[in-house]
Assembly symmetry: C2
């Protein structure tokens, strides 16, 4: 499993992903699930991935290959596409094609279906910040004022805190706290979501990654925050009357 969450706020984009990949409980590994395509000042595109590793890796590799192609143009390279909508559409097409091909290969031996979904967030100079959730079929939805966050993977445990505290006006500092607490609830409840974490901030109109941080297992700040939150929840529980 996986948990990735992205917030689209007035002040910028805040992204958080875990790194655990598993093929059964007895075969776990660490793989990055957050990727950046950047031409600083002109555009920044972040992709977070959930699903079959063969699908997500092959899709990312194909996006890179298309960018590096000498013949790359605005219809093939996400670094040349004129709008974020077209970026999302190109990534969706690439994901859907890769997923279909791998599912066809799998059909030879098993009923297993390969699948994956992405969160794509970014901004082009002169355009708005946008954030999309791309489904395995290649279609997508977009974060809005009413629903300023998108999640992929194990989304349920970490949703109540986002529902309660995140609005488009949330500050970037509070937003980091919100996604980390959302991840903390998920880590506690689903073993297939695991440390380390990748956190990134893309400030509005920077058109570049403003900050990124890998949070390792045992990170003292994350551990302290997790304990403070547990204690605060228990205190709140005591205070509420029935």
């Amino acid at each position: 499993m996986t948990y990735c969450v992205g917030l689209k706020l007035n002040a910028g984009l805040v992204l958080l992903s875990d790194t655990r990949t598993n093929a059964g409980l007895d075969n776990i590994a660490i793989y990055r699930k957050m990727f950046f395509f950047e031409n600083p000042g002109e555009r920044v595109i972040a992709i977070m991935t959930a699903g079959s590793l063969s699908v997500t890796q092959t899709t990312l590799a194909r996006l890179h290959e298309a960018i590096d192609d000498e013949m790359a143009d605005e219809t093939t390279s996400i670094l040349k596409a004129p709008t974020m909508l077209q970026v999302a559409s190109m990534i969706g097409d690439c994901l859907a094609r890769t997923r279909r091909e791998i599912s066809d290969q799998l059909r030879d031996l098993s009923q297993h279906q390969a699948s994956a979904s992405f969160i794509v967030a970014g901004q082009r100079a002169g355009g708005d910040m946008r954030m999309f959730l791309i489904y395995p079929e290649g279609n997508f939805i977009e974060a809005t004022e009413d629903t300023p966050f998108l999640q992929i993977g194990e989304h349920k445990y970490g949703k109540p805190i986002l529902d309660r505290v995140v609005t488009p006006a949330t500050s970037l500092a509070d937003a980091q706290k919100a996604v980390l607490l959302s991840m903390d609830s998920t880590l506690r409840s689903n073993l297939s979501v695991g440390m380390p974490l990748d956190l990134a901030i893309i400030e509005k109109d920077a058109c570049a990654v403003s900050a990124k941080r890998r949070i390792l297992d045992g990170d003292p700040d994350f551990a302290r925050m997790s304990v403070e939150w547990s204690n605060a929840l228990r205190d709140s529980f005591v205070k509420v009357s029935i």
Copy 2:
């Protein structure tokens, strides 16, 4: 969907269920999902149900029919079975048989499978309180000291609060608060879980239902508790530092 949760504590059993049944989002109805079989002072058995309504209703009806049968004996009536383990086993067999029959009927017209799961909790005079989660296949697991709660249906949204505050030593008052807050998180996030709620307490060694209460939509105490909890969570969020 459904959300039912049961706690097995040193002081007694605490049970909470919602009442929403749906066949698609455009067809919702209220059906009780908590049932009691009682011979006060001698035994009490509570059943909570999740899954296809035709399976849960038919299983319950068959359990009643077996009790009312003049020839009922300790192998056919859950009010005569000598232990809670045998009660769980009889209910599991009845559930599995009913589910198989209905799935066979459905196969005529669709690929749809009927399924259901139960929480069975209770006590016989001279025996211990016990609580089981019965799977659609009829097998079951039991609540223990380490894991004193069981959930069926939409269990994810409401699990973090239980993980944090419930232990076997939790008082019955705190336990009621915990299951109601667990339900509150679930109601907010999953439309197919809905009011009214059924809450029941079975005190240790009472061998009878000690208290039951239907909490209607708009119940002022539940609404106030929900608001207090939201406010306490937001206050906690502000206090935690990153």
